[in-house]
């Protein structure tokens, strides 16, 4: 029993630490592109500690409960994802369908907490986030189905095992279109620049985050970090054949994250209906073509 507790804590902490690390490196990388100075790579650690030590306001018990539930959802999803060689539960190595659905707990929790704050900006942001989710969910699901058909099992671990043996074996190479669609979907999932209508600072005062202060904002940060770690981890496991030792796994994750950050640096913000339409046009078509190729 204690063993599972330990493994649970290990997984949780690695995700948070690595997530914050990725954010710091990402921030420095963006600064490099936009030619302005960014603080040290451990800047995000400092922010989190600062936030948790400040006083904060909350409107009612649902707001506290909601934010906590959001963060708990993301942590629970990470437990199911194989982090490199390590798995919290041996026999249930990351059933992809569970992971997809657990992510929605995160969204639900955060959305509920923020909606309870009563600020219309927050709810508009949530509405946009949910519609966007509808957008990127389709291509992501198509790729998942493709892989489930390919590996004849919906466990990530099995997918990883099938991709061992060298560079050429990776799914990214076998199914290039699906990999491309997954990347675009990843961009949407992380809420990076082209698709960040939901937390647009100029239009709706940074959307859902508007009422969060102090430790609630801290929770927001942690959730975003864990989310980065999670989503990049999934893509790595599915397409880049997640490696046996940790560092290569983290490196691949970092590479992916930096790629998305680079893309976000370039593109301006989409209107979120066009974003949803874009998601339903390009990536879905790619994934569909891949699926058809696979079936025939």
């Amino acid at each position: 029993m204690v063993n599972i507790m330990l493994r649970f804590l290990f997984a949780a902490f690695t995700s948070i630490i690595m997530g914050l690390l990725f954010m710091g490196i990402g921030r420095k990388f963006i600064a490099r592109i936009r030619r302005h100075y960014a603080g040290p790579f451990y800047q995000s650690f400092i922010d989190v500690i600062k936030l948790f030590s400040k006083k904060s306001i909350s409107h009612n018990w649902i707001m506290d409960f909601g934010v906590m539930m959001g963060f708990a959802g993301i942590i629970a999803t990470i437990i199911f994802m194989p982090i490199g060689p390590f798995n919290v539960f041996s026999q249930m190595q990351g059933n992809i369908i569970i992971i997809i659905y657990f992510m929605t707990i995160g969204y639900l929790g955060m959305a509920m907490g923020v909606a309870a704050s009563g600020n219309p900006n927050a709810t508009i942001g949530i509405a946009r986030a949910l519609t966007l989710m509808l957008g990127y969910e389709i291509p992501f699901v198509l790729t998942v189905i493709l892989l489930v058909f390919a590996n004849n099992s919906s466990l990530l671990q099995v997918m990883v095992v099938n991709q061992q043996g060298g560079f050429m074996e990776w799914n990214a190479i076998r199914y290039p279109f699906a990999f491309l669609a997954a990347l675009i979907a990843l961009q949407g999932m992380l809420g990076e620049q082209p698709f960040d209508a939901m937390i647009a600072p100029s239009e709706i005062a940074s959307g859902p985050m508007v009422e969060l202060s102090g430790k609630f904002l801290g929770f927001g940060f942690l959730q975003h970090a864990a989310q980065i770690f999670l989503e990049t981890g999934i893509i790595v496991n599915m397409f880049l054949g997640g490696s046996q030792n940790f560092f290569i796994f983290f490196a691949k994750q970092l590479a992916l994250y930096l790629l998305t950050v680079a893309v976000s640096g370039i593109f301006p913000r989409y209107r979120f209906e066009d974003a949803v339409k874009f998601f339903w046009m390009a990536p879905t078509a790619l994934a569909a073509i891949q699926l058809i190729i696979f079936i025939i």
């Binding site: 507790m5 649970f8 804590l9 948790f52 030590s53 400040k54 006083k55 904060s56 306001i57 909350s58 409107h59 009612n60 649902i62 506290d64 906590m68 539930m69 963060f71 708990a72 959802g73 942590i75 629970a76 437990i79 026999q91 249930m92 369908i97 569970i98 659905y101 929605t104 707990i105 639900l108 959305a111 909606a115 309870a116 704050s117 009563g118 600020n119 219309p120 949530i126 509405a127 519609t131 989710m133 509808l134 969910e137 389709i138 699901v141 198509l142 189905i145 489930v148 058909f149 004849n152 919906s154 466990l155 005062a205 102090g214 430790k215 801290g218 929770f219 209906e273 339409k277 079936i295």
Partner: protein, 630 residues
Amino acid sequence: MILYSFLFALLTALLSLFIRREYNYIRWILYSAVLASLTFLIYTMNGLWGYSESFKLLSVGSVDFSLNFKVTPLSWLFSFFTTGLSLSISLFSIVKNRHEESERSIGFFWLILSVCNIAIFLSADLLTLFIFWEAMTFVSFFVISPGWTKSFKAVNYYFILSILGAFAMLVGIFFLYSKSATFNIESNIAQLFVLYELNSPQAIFITLMFVLGFFTKSALMPFHIWPAEAHSEAPDDFSSYLSGIMIKYGLYGSILFLVPLFVFISKFSQTQPMSNHIPLFSHILAWVGAITSVVATFLAVKSNDMKRLAAWSTVGNIGYAATSIFILSSMGVAGGIFHIINHAIFKTAIFLSLAAVKYRTHEREMHRLGGLAYKMPVTFLTFLLGIIAAAGIPPLNGYASKWMIYQSLLSGRFPFLATMIFLSSTGAFMYLFRALHSVFLGQLPSKFDDVKEVPFLMQIPMYILMLLMVIIGIFPGTVLLPVNSILKSMNMEEIKVTYTTMYSMLSSVDAPIVFLVFAGSFAFAFILYLIGKPRRHVELLDNYTAGQDPKEFGLTREMYHFALKFYEPFEHMFDKYPRTNTKEFYDSFERKINETGSFIKKFYSSSPRSAVYIFTLSIVLIIIYGWLVW
């Protein structure tokens, strides 16, 4: 023993009519007592499969009418959980109907309805099924619109569609009867199979008739408009019965009749066209189910009335169940039945909480509500759990059945069906959150300041349902083991399931572990929460408005609640595609009938001379017809 219990229930219904208005709670207590005894009776019948009872009525010509009932695993499961649910609903309606003005007729017809409900599930042959099917349609007319003029227009759609469906089924039954000369189900299925083998067009015609009968009742694709009307106009507690139980008859019928037929065909037939190694007909039906769920989701996103939204979500969920049933794999059928049961539970929870909201606020439009969570915590919790289950989020029972449906779709190699189901389930999360936000969260309008929680008696069913959702969520075996016995009785191979974990070809899910993980991570977050500095409570309206005090520029709490056009941009995405609206189609159909009616009436009131004119004209026409024929 079954029939005497029915008669006993009907007798009490009749007697309860005479209770006067001020003691109407006695009437409703009587109803829940009767329902409780019926549930207990059905519970005791568990296990004694094959116990049958028949009651000979009358034989007019070659048709001999007789009611015969049989307890099979399928019928037992369905009748048990439906009566149980109606028992919990009746607890709710004891208090709710204190001030309802036409509650006498609602109660009376409702009890008859629940008796018909059990009779439909227990009926052994097609004729008894049809008898109680039609009785249920007629009686439900009076409950949905008990004398309220506005709900009469709404109930018309429901009534006409289900009658046409019932008559289509009648024709189907008797086409079979003329060939197989018996009403019992197995021989009719065999007879229909033989017809299929002879590849006669009549076989497809008969199956189409049955499909028409079942699909109108379960509001699938072409007939999907009536739940939105009927559920939103029906009395509040009855709409939970309506969408929890009454919409399932079509699916029950297809499991009873169509699924064994298609399984029979897929196993033995040589002549039938096969697609994805299931009969083409059943594949099409699966597609219809999937399309219904997608269409229902998009229409639900648009609806602004909370009960209408819940009704559309029912149609969506029925779409999932139908898709999974019609792909004919044992996992699919088990998933479908499991989803039907889960849907009944969480949909009743959602509708009960909406009824509680309406009981307190007498308001139905979502943008006029808001912030009720702070005043009605229990209702909020039921609604929240209902939404989590409806969206299929893991710890609760919605996830278990959705997982099984996905497993069956994926292992059965139906990629596009799976995507459509995924699309509609994410869409479900979208509009369910909209309901959660506009009704319970956001700003509390000033006129609801003194709203307090619903009385305790109404809360009991909510607690029961919450408990049920969590238990089935953690121990899916409680429902899946009886489902297994159903599969065995329909001689399809069983699915591997223990009390806690569900196995499928692709992967397995250990429900308690999922729950533990969720609890663990929640505890982890709670610890982090405690580490942080304690937070200060602040009044709802005092939030970030770039420095200005919202009260200064005349901002009231109602205006500050963003709920009216929640997903308006999303709806505008579909503007440029022309959308045919099935409701207009039905309305134009009705207008045409009225025109022909008035045209005919013009003849009837015209002068006697034209009467004679047409008299002779028709004699001459008959003569000409005679000449042509001879």
